[in-house]
Symmetry: C2
Subunit: 180 residues, 2 copies
Amino acid sequence: MAMQKKQRAKAKYTGYVATSIDGRIASGSHSGVNWTSREDWNFFQKSLLKYDAIIAGHNTFMVAKKRLEKRNTIVITSKVSTVKTDNKVVFINPKNTNVKNFINKKGYKKVAVIGGGHIYDFCLKNQMLDDIYVTIEPFVFTAGVTMFQGAYFRKYRFSLESIKKLNKNGTILLKYKNGN
Amino acid sequence: MAMQKKQRAKAKYTGYVATSIDGRIASGSHSGVNWTSREDWNFFQKSLLKYDAIIAGHNTFMVAKKRLEKRNTIVITSKVSTVKTDNKVVFINPKNTNVKNFINKKGYKKVAVIGGGHIYDFCLKNQMLDDIYVTIEPFVFTAGVTMFQGAYFRKYRFSLESIKKLNKNGTILLKYKNGN
């Protein structure tokens, strides 16, 4: 009987984005998400309970600090050099620390990625975005922070898994899976 | 019996946008839309036949010149000072000419707005975008031209009129109405 080395199960990463019709997630990098519908907010908050850990950028963390401090939160930031821990919150500089290895060592299986635009881009580039929930609120902003803030154009293919109307104002929730 | 002054009916403006999940419409301002699905392309080309005139920016016009030359096309551009006419194509600088008045004088009733990002923004700001068809192709680009290229953040409210799946790859077509 062959011995089989037990492999550490990789974490699964799920993004949550609330966006305007034109792909903007905030007016500026320090502004909150108080423009989203109650239905999306409820969906988002309820969803987060299912995750072992949450990944956020520093701006997003600051905006939602009170809530995130209660959870296993990984803050991706250039403001630290080595890993810095503050109770349940860990600050990591991805230039110096492999975030994926860190998460696997911690044994987290389900990780939620909650933004902002640089973090979504970082996770997508590093195979840390297996699927993504996109809530489209019925607004056009014409300017502001884009959903993904990448340095250059690249074509990542997704497949649509579901569409759901969240309210009668026209807020919709799309679920996409990375690749196809 | 009271005399009633006959009012010139205003034109109705409908936008057509094909976008990635993250609100990008092209890799660069001179690139075409060869990344969209056949289903969207067919919908778009068939739809345009219903319009009296088409509004496009100069880059969009150059990319689709052969097709647009056959139609009443209004090219919004800073490259001319006064109105310049070339068969069915009219070049207008909105700094010097009121585009809306021009369209009303021409008697156009149904006008399609086909981009790019500066033109969608111009039309939205000038009450020349009554409704908009948004095709979302199942890609993330992380960079590139944004759907609306506005100078500052503003919240325009739309209402969702319909959702349609265009193919099994997950291309969806949303129809929004300006205001609510």
